[in-house]
């Protein structure tokens, strides 16, 4: 495995995948954080886990976009004819992978860490009180879900792009 392949794996299959996989736990934790569903002792018990999970997601999202933008992306968009971008644009059949897939992925992916950080902050700041503040809990849930959708778009296109024109 080359250094470039290793960074591509770290970017997508480690940082990005951890974020996407952790979403289900964060979503379930926030969804069920209601006084009618769990006892006050239960809320306290799961709060610490939820806070750790939310910040893990936020940190993974930051690591994903920073490693993707500043380490992997320059290799992708290098000007030489052998770069993945050049290869995709040179063929009419593969051009859209760049003009649609990469162009969307590289921008929308940056939404994930910002929104996940805001959601993690809300969960941390309000703590167990969030169970009684239904509007705020729902807002954190929606921000986390939008962050997940942004990461899912970026991650899906990243996986396909690396199949069609791998970074080596």
């Amino acid at each position: 495995m080359t250094e470039r392949e290793l960074w591509t794996v770290l970017h997508g299959m480690v940082f990005g995948a951890i974020f996407l996989l952790a979403f289900a736990g964060g979503f379930a934790g926030l969804w069920s954080l209601k006084p009618e569903l769990i006892t006050s002792a239960g809320i306290g018990e799961r709060m610490k886990r939820l806070v750790i999970g939310m910040w893990t997601m936020a940190i993974m999202a930051w690591l994903t976009v920073i490693s993707g933008t500043y380490i992997v992306y320059p290799w992708y968009r290098a000007g030489d004819p052998g770069s993945p971008r050049s290869l995709l644009l040179a063929n009419a059949d593969t051009k859209a992978w760049h003009t649609f897939g990469m162009e969307w992925k590289e921008h929308v992916g940056w939404f994930a860490p910002v929104l996940a950080t805001a959601a993690a902050f809300i969960v941390t700041y309000y703590g167990p009180r969030l169970a009684e503040k239904n509007q705020l809990r729902k807002a954190a849930l929606v921000l986390l879900t939008i962050a997940f959708l942004a990461a899912a778009v970026a991650g899906s296109f990243g996986a396909f792009l690396n199949k069609v024109a791998p970074i080596r």
């Binding site: 933008t69 320059p74 649609f100 162009e103 921008h107 939404f111 910002v114």
Partner: protein
């Protein structure tokens, strides 16, 4: 809209976090489309030759978010705000930001 409250944890803190993140998203989306309209803006946003204008588009969005958030937090931390209104405005900004990063949309403005 804002009234002083005795709550230890007012809704203002959440309102600041939600709105600031939405503004950051909207700025990144806006710059994605504006960079297609203006070649000089695209050049100005290329803070790194290797990465290109993505550095500036994402960088300005993140910087604005990080500047706006503490300001709104300081202003609203002890206040009860109209969270529903802030939340709706935030969702609209996020939707617009998302739309403005969608290639068929920003390519429609490409010169």
């Amino acid at each position: 809209m804002n009234t002083q409250t005795d709550f230890a944890k007012s809704d203002g803190v959440a309102g600041a976090a939600v709105l600031a993140s939405a503004i950051g998203v909207f700025i990144t989306g806006s710059l994605t489309t504006l960079a297609e309209i203006s070649g000089s803006l695209k050049t100005a946003l290329a803070w790194s030759g290797a990465v290109g204008p993505l550095t500036g588009k994402s960088g300005v969005g993140v910087i604005v978010w990080l500047v706006v958030w503490p300001i709104l937090h300081a202003v609203w931390r002890d206040k009860e705000v109209n969270f529903d209104a802030l939340y709706i405005v935030s969702l609209v900004l996020i939707a617009l930001g998302w739309l403005l990063t969608f290639p068929p949309v920003f390519e429609a403005f490409s010169g």
